[in-house]
C-alpha cells in the first residue's frame, strides 16, 4: 500500500527538530532511517504523522571515545557500526549484532537510535544495550536526561522516550581487556528476525545476559546471571528457561523458544571454555 503522511519537515539541527516536534501538536513523528517507520506508513499502521526528518543532523551521527565510555550517535547507521574500528574494539557485541540485522540495503539506512526507539522485542540492538549496561541520552523541550537501558524498554514498541523527546546518543563502558561479548541467535533464514537470541557479556563485575525474541521487551535474565556468576551452567539454563515468557506464533511455540534459549546459552558457555555440567 501507499504511505499517508500528514506533512514533512527536515530538521537542520537538534534544537530545530525539538521545535518542530513541539509545533506538531502531538502528531509529530521522528523520521530517522525510515526502515521501520516507512514500512509501517506503507502498511497504514501509522497515518497522518507530521514527519520530523532528523536524518541530516550530522552531529547525531558517529562513534567516539569520551573518557572511559564509548558514545554512539543515535543516527549512526547499522552498516557504519558494522565497519567501525572503535565498535569492533570497545563494543564488539554491536558489530556481531549487525550481521544478524535484516539485509544489506536495510542496514545501509537503518540507525541504532531508530532501532532502540522502535523497541521491537525481537530486535538485536535493544538486547545488546541491555547486556552492555548502556545509558540512553535523551533531549527534550525541558533539557536533557539519561535513562539506563534497564529502565528504557517499557513494552512492545514502547520506551521511556516522552512526547517531544529525541534519543540523541547511547553510551556504555569500554570493554575491559578480558571482557567476553557474544551474541547468538536462531533465525529461520538469513536476515529474518530471530526466534530467540542471547547477548552475553562477562566483565570483572560479573556476567550480564539478555534475551531477544522472548517476551514483550528485551529481558535481562537476572536469575541465569546469578547462576553463571557461580559457574553453574546447568542451573543457569534452568533459571533462564524459567524466567522467559516468550510468545507462541506461526514461527515457533513458546516452548521451542525456551528450548532454543537454553541451547544457545550452553553453546556460548562451551565456546568461552566453561565447564559443562
Amino acid at each position: 500500500m501507499k504511505a499517508s503522511a500528514g506533512g514533512y519537515a527536515r530538521a537542520r539541527d537538534l534544537s530545530h527538530a525539538l521545535d518542530l516536534l513541539a509545533d506538531a501538536d502531538g502528531m509529530g513523528r521522528v523520521l530517522a532511517g525510515g526502515q521501520s517507520l516507512i514500512a509501517a506508513m506503507n502498511m497504514r499502521l501509522s497515518t497522518g504523522d507530521m514527519l520530523v526528518d532528523i536524518s541530516r543532523i550530522s552531529d547525531l551521527s558517529g562513534v567516539s571515545v569520551q573518557g572511559r565510555r564509548l558514545r554512539i550517535g543515535a543516527l549512526t547507521r547499522h552498516a557504519e557500526l558494522g565497519r567501525d574500528a572503535l565498535i569492533a574494539r570497545h563494543a564488539p557485541l554491536l558489530a556481531q549484532a549487525v550481521n544478524h540485522i535484516a539485509h544489506a540495503a536495510i542496514r545501509n539506512r537503518g540507525t541504532i537510535g531508530g532501532a532502540l526507539a522502535h523497541a521491537d522485542p525481537a530486535a538485536e540492538f535493544p538486547a545488546c544495550v541491555l547486556a552492555l549496561d548502556a545509558v540512553l541520552h535523551l533531549e527534550g523541550p525541558e533539557g536533557s536526561r539519561e535513562v539506563r537501558a534497564e529502565d528504557f524498554f517499557v513494552d512492545v514498541f514502547e520506551t521511556a522516550i516522552a512526547e517531544g523527546e529525541i534519543l540523541t546518543a547511547i553510551s556504555m563502558p569500554l570493554a575491559e581487556p578480558d571482557e567476553v561479548q557474544m551474541l547468538k541467535e536462531v533465525a529461520r533464514r538469513s536476515g529474518d528476525y530471530a526466534l530467540a537470541g542471547l547477548c552475553f557479556v562477562r566483565r570483572a563485575g560479573g556476567v550480564r545476559l539478555s534475551v531477544l525474541g522472548a517476551g514483550s521487551t528485551p529481558l535481562l535474565a537476572r536469575a541465569a546471571m546469578a547462576r553463571l556468576d557461580m559457574e553453574d551452567i546447568g542451573g543457569a539454563v534452568a533459571a533462564l528457561r524459567g524466567e522467559l515468557n516468550p510468545p507462541s506464533d506461526t514461527q515457533a511455540t513458546a516452548a521451542y523458544r525456551r528450548h532454543i534459549a537454553g541451547v544457545l546459552l550452553r553453546r556460548i558457555w562451551e565456546e568461552i571454555g566453561g565447564e559443562s555440567a
Binding site: A5, G7, Y8, A39, M50
Partner: protein, 164 residues
C-alpha cells in the same frame, strides 16, 4: 498547525546523472517517484515493506530500498537506477553473466538483484558462495532457486580479478 510541515515537498536531485526538480507529496516513496513520476520502471514496487528487494536502487553510493525512503528525503541525493547503470555500461559484465548463466527467468527481481550484486562485488572482491547467498537473502527470486544467480556473481568476481 505549523506551516513548516509541507504536504508537498520541493526536491532537486540527480537521477542517472541528470538533474531533476520535482514537487512530491510528503508520503510518496522513492520507488513510486522513480516509476510513476519519472517513468523509470526498471526497479519494481512489490511488497512495499522492505522484504522482497525488488525496489532496490542506489542512493549516494548505497543500495537502498526504494519503498522505505521518501522521495522528499532524496533532496540533494545522487540516485542510480538499472536504466542508468545499463546505459553507462557500469555493470555490463554482470548483466552478461546473468544471461550466460540463465540467472533470470521472469525478470521481475532482476533490476534490484543486479544493484544488490553490484554492491556486494564492490565491497568484497571475491565473496564465497555462502556469502553471496547471505547477501542476496534480501532479494527474493521465485524462478531460479538462486543457484544460477550465485554462479553469475561468482563468475564476475573471478573475471574482475583476472582469475578466469
Amino acid at each position: 498547525m505549523s506551516d513548516v510541515f509541507r504536504n508537498k515537498v520541493d526536491i532537486t536531485l540527480t537521477v542517472n546523472g541528470e538533474e531533476v526538480e520535482a514537487r512530491v507529496p510528503a508520503g510518496r516513496h522513492l520507488i513510486d517517484f522513480l516509476r510513476l513520476d519519472l517513468g523509470l520502471t526498471g526497479a519494481h514496487a512489490s511488497c512495499e515493506h522492505g522484504v522482497c528487494g525488488a525496489c532496490t536502487v542506489k542512493v549516494d553510493g548505497d543500495a537502498v530500498r526504494g519503498c522505505l525512503m521518501l522521495a522528499a528525503q532524496a533532496d540533494g541525493a545522487e540516485v542510480w537506477t538499472i536504466e542508468g547503470m545499463s546505459d553507462t555500461g557500469a555493470i555490463r559484465d554482470l548483466q552478461d553473466a546473468f544471461v550466460t548463466r540463465n540467472a533470470l527467468q521472469c525478470g521481475f527481481c532482476t533490476p534490484g538483484m543486479l544493484v544488490a550484486c553490484e554492491e556486494l562485488l564492490t565491497r568484497d572482491a571475491l565473496p564465497e558462495r555462502d556469502e553471496i547467498r547471505d547477501y542476496l537473502s534480501g532479494n527474493y527470486c521465485r524462478c531460479t532457486g538462486y543457484e544460477a544467480i550465485v554462479d553469475a556473481v561468482e563468475d564476475v568476481a573471478k573475471a574482475r580479478r583476472g582469475l578466469t
